[in-house]
């Protein structure tokens, strides 16, 4: 078992250690430099309109990344969220197509419940049966995606079949800001409180950083795991409705592969896949960085075919740099304790 020294550390004088402590700051400066660079090349980047656009387009990613963060903190992973988004989006869109008068809030609720049910299946398999999260969610990704195709029979639900009030969910504004931005902000605040100031939130960290001692101190591990996957599922279901409303179409392959982007945002934000660590601020910045990249690359006339490669490269670079810095810091700590 590797010993985590970062929490024991009281001295913060070394610059590298300081950097590691405030990793989010490093990410923040990287984003600032990136923005300045893009702005110099294309002045239409930092205009109010474009910034609002970027925020709207990043909101769904932020909401999903919050859920993925708590899954990763418990040493898990959820590869099924793209499929859950598609399934809940498709079912809700079909409901709206059948009865156009449905209340939009009801749609959001139904989507969330569908997602939460999907999440509960994963939670049961991981927490009760003890499957590895990657295997369980890989299999369920297939099953949910297959179900989406089955319920839709390969057909799309397109914009003309959707009621205005439904499309309004993701395109309407409140106080000048898109609804999506408000929803993302609310979730950030709720998660901040939940993770830092509630007992369950702290137990999530405890289960992830050391399962054995968490079990010894009386934390019901199975219950935490089940909860985490249910929350992730619920958020994916909600985002399914938002996604369909935003793009005004529901297809069988909606959000296919989006789980990778979400995981990438978390990893860029410094969430460790080995569990136990991850901060909300980091994840938020990670998601914003990816959102900026998606927006800036077309503005810089980078071919869309380069985007995948650039994204993959940045993810690998971020995890490797993170690992190297962490190693150095731990070595400094060890040296200091020895001396």
């Amino acid at each position: 078992m590797e010993i985590k020294t970062e929490n024991l550390d009281l001295e913060k004088k070394n610059p590298l250690a300081l950097f590691y402590q405030f990793r989010e700051l490093g990410l923040f400066f990287f984003i600032v430099i990136l923005c300045i660079g893009v702005q110099l090349r294309n002045p239409s980047f930092l205009t109010g309109e474009n910034i609002l656009d970027m925020a709207t387009n990043t909101s769904i990613l932020v909401i999903l990344a919050l859920g993925m963060m708590i899954v990763l903190i418990t040493r898990g992973i959820d590869l099924s969220i793209g499929a859950v988004i598609a399934l809940s989006g498709m079912l809700t869109a079909q409901l709206v197509a059948a009865n156009p008068t449905v209340n939009p809030f009801l749609c959001l609720l139904i989507g969330t419940i569908i997602g939460a049910l999907c999440g509960m299946v994963i939670g049961l398999l991981v927490a009760k049966v003890g499957l590895l999260p990657i295997i369980a969610t890989l299999a369920l990704m297939n099953i949910f995606r297959g179900l989406t195709f089955l319920v839709s029979d390969g057909e799309w639900v397109s914009s003309y079949q959707m009621s205005e009030s439904f499309v309004e969910i993701a395109t309407g504004t409140f106080l000048g800001l898109n609804h999506l931005i408000w929803i993302a902000v609310i979730f950030c605040l709720v998660f901040f409180y939940f993770l830092n100031y509630t007992r369950t939130g702290r137990q999530i960290y405890a289960v992830g950083s050391n399962p054995q001692s968490a079990a010894v101190s009386g934390i019901k591990q199975g219950r935490i795991l089940f909860l985490v996957y249910t929350i992730m599922g619920g958020l994916s279901g909600l985002c399914g409705v938002l996604w369909v409303s935003k793009f005004a179409s529901a297809q069988g392959d909606t959000a296919s592969g989006y789980e990778l982007t979400v995981i990438a945002a978390c990893i860029l934000g410094g969430v460790s896949i080995a569990g136990g660590s991850g901060k909300l601020a980091g994840v938020l910045l990670g998601a914003i960085l990816l959102g900026i990249l998606n927006n800036a690359l077309p503005l810089l006339n980078v071919s869309p075919f380069w985007q995948n490669g650039i994204q993959g490269f940045i993810i690998l670079l971020a995890v490797i740099v993170n690992a190297i810095v962490k190693r150095r810091v731990e070595r400094i700590h060890l040296l200091r304790r020895a001396g």
Partner: protein, 334 residues
């Protein structure tokens, strides 16, 4: 992931146990054989064109290409790792081969060698990153390279298709040797080779030892890092071989080929009895599992069932095959 599954009581390697009739009969492979027979019977029930020699023989060409990767994947899973970048590796090596032949005008033989080299390099990068940065799990490294490799394939070919290979290249995907598909012969040869390597050589012993207890195997003098890098390279190399067969059968290539292959391959290995917690698995079981999933896919295709049902079935099979041993263990403890 590694830490969670660590058990501290000594486990005997399966290959070390003395012979016993009881164990011979209570094996996962018998169960798999029964499932395979059930699949074949079901196939002959739903379609009159399913259960005869030419149909079963040519059916193998539909699914055996990806099955080539299942052997190194089994080794990787025995060592408690996972590789989800193999589908992207197939796409990248195929795109490199096609581009070198069509755009660069190199002879096809050179392009094939470049394809194999690309796959091996992709695997080497995976392996090196995993052993140099042990704190990143194999999941994260191969997730990153999965996006990266496919990204490079897109950079090379954009949304174009590349094709127009020489006629003899079609032999890989469509050729027969003595009335048997060439692909089937390659698969059988690889099964034999990997079976011998995994169960009869010291290298195979090392793979099992690493899966049972990585720390103990390092202390007993096994070069864990070296073994891991070799196995990941093998996965990349066989992904390139798959790319050759797949490209040959399709006649052209695109950057989006072989998406989600990793899932089918992991499902085949898990169904074949390779434990996801490491340390267990046999080539024979994996081979039977390949034919179960393959003939299921082929049979469903014959009766025109939508391929989405196949997605659901593979997912369900994967869950059942990993859940049944766990549930059995739970019963025993109670």
């Amino acid at each position: 992931m590694e830490q969670k599954k660590q058990t501290y009581q000594p486990r005997t390697l399966e290959t070390n146990l003395p012979f016993s009739w009881k164990r011979l009969f209570f094996q996962w492979e018998w169960m798999l054989l029964l499932i395979l027979i059930a699949v074949l019977l079901l196939g002959s029930y739903v379609s009159p064109y399913f259960l005869n020699y030419p149909s079963l023989r040519d059916g193998t060409m539909v699914f055996l290409d990806k099955a080539l990767i299942v052997f190194p994947m089994a080794m990787i899973m025995i060592m408690r790792d996972i590789d989800i970048s193999v589908g992207s590796t197939v796409a990248l090596s195929s795109v490199v081969m096609a581009t070198l032949y069509t755009s660069a005008g190199l002879p096809m033989e050179v392009a094939i060698i470049a394809c194999l080299a690309t796959g091996a390099i992709c695997g080497l990068i995976n392996g090196l990153l995993i052993v140099k940065f042990k704190e990143l799990s194999a999941v994260i490294v191969t997730l990153g390279t999965m996006i990266l490799y496919r990204g490079i394939a897109y950079i090379i070919l954009e949304d174009q298709a590349a094709g127009g290979f020489p006629e003899w290249f079609g032999f890989f995907g469509w050729g027969y040797v003595f009335g048997i598909p060439f692909l089937l012969i390659v698969f059988a040869a690889l099964a034999l080779l990997f079976g011998i390597v995994l169960h009869k050589t010291t290298f195979g012993r090392k793979v099992f030892a690493i899966g049972n207890n990585p720390t103990a195997s390092r202390f007993s003098g096994i070069k864990v890092d070296k073994v891991k890098v070799i196995v990941f390279m093998l996965a990349g190399l066989l992904a390139a071989v798959t790319a050759i067969f797949l490209t040959s059968r399709m006649g052209s290539t695109r950057p989006n080929i072989a998406t989600m292959y990793e899932l089918d391959i992991i499902a085949m290995a898990a169904l074949g009895g390779v434990s996801t917690a490491g340390g267990k698995g046999r080539v024979l079981g994996v081979v039977i599992a390949v034919f179960i999933i393959g003939y299921l896919q082929y049979g469903l295709g014959l009766i025109n069932l939508p391929s989405q049902i196949f997605l659901i079935i593979v997912g369900a099979l994967l869950i059942l095959s990993v859940a049944i041993p766990k549930l059995g263990g739970m019963m025993k403890r109670k």
